[in-house]
């Protein structure tokens, strides 16, 4: 049986019982007579009407709820939610743009990243994810090595010497 139909039936049955109970009580308490037959006829009529109404309202609501639940369950069962991610290396590149002069950035660091992007995309397009990871690792090492080599180490050394060298008498 369709689970949605089962849910609708389970909802409609208690509703019809609930609305039919007052009539049933009248039927049981009253003695056999024409009036009792009239009440019994009315009870059947109203119970049927209420059942149809409850069925219509309940089914509409339940079908909608079941569909919503179905959508939620299906979306959760997917392997991974779709998330837009930044391409690899962009954070390093932005940090380098901030730290280095535009000449060093444009001539050395940006071309390294461009080459990495080309190679990385080629590897991914070929379905070689292992090679792509290797290229990414190599890019990080190359980028950091070049960035360190571009640092003004001479100036830092001079500052260090000035700060920590013993004071010599003139």
């Amino acid at each position: 049986m369709n689970p949605r139909r089962l849910l609708v039936t389970l909802c409609v049955l208690p509703a019809s019982v609930l609305f039919g109970l007052p009539f049933a009580r009248v039927l049981i308490s009253s003695p056999a007579s024409v009036e009792r037959d009239a009440v019994a006829t009315a009870a059947v009529f109203f119970s049927a009407a209420i059942s149809v109404l409850a069925f219509m309202l309940g089914s509409a609501t339940l079908v909608r709820t079941a569909k919503l639940l179905d959508d939620i369950l299906r979306s959760r069962s997917r392997a991974r939610p779709r998330v837009v991610r930044r391409p690899p290396g962009v954070s390093l590149l932005e940090l380098a743009r901030f730290c280095f002069s535009s000449k060093n950035f444009e001539r050395v660091l940006q071309p390294i990243h461009s080459d990495f992007e080309v190679e990385y995309n080629e590897a991914l397009a070929a379905g070689e994810t292992g090679r792509a990871k290797m290229i990414r690792f190599r890019f990080t090492v190359t980028f950091v090595t070049n960035a360190v080599s571009l640092l003004p180490l001479k100036a830092l050394r001079k500052i260090y010497d000035l700060a920590f060298s013993p004071i010599r008498p003139l």
Partner: protein, 97 residues
């Protein structure tokens, strides 16, 4: 006077003299392992400071995908330095500087 050109710079000049323009990764691939990815752009930067090569940022052509590439070509000074080096190299068979 014998022009002293470092080995990597000489390889770059030799490769660029044979083509109209090229980019770093292409030079690395053409050099058969002589140039490294990690050092080629520092070398090219130094050569640009010396005036041996010139570079410009080329936008990606329409219909193609990828980041903008920095293209390099040999300058007149670079071509002259290479020619002088080769001329000096011919009689004695000197190694790279």
């Amino acid at each position: 006077m014998f022009p002293r050109i470092p080995r990597n710079e000489l390889i770059v000049l030799s490769l660029l003299s044979g083509v109209r323009q090229s980019y770093g990764l292409d030079l690395v691939r053409q050099s058969d392992g002589a140039l490294k990815r990690g050092s080629v752009y520092v070398t090219l930067d130094r050569m640009e400071d010396k005036g041996l090569v010139e570079s410009w940022l080329a936008e990606t052509p329409a219909g193609e995908q990828g980041p903008p590439r920095r293209l390099y070509r040999i300058t007149g000074h670079g071509a002259q330095a290479l020619a002088e080096y080769r001329a000096a190299l011919l009689p004695g068979g000197l190694a790279f500087g």
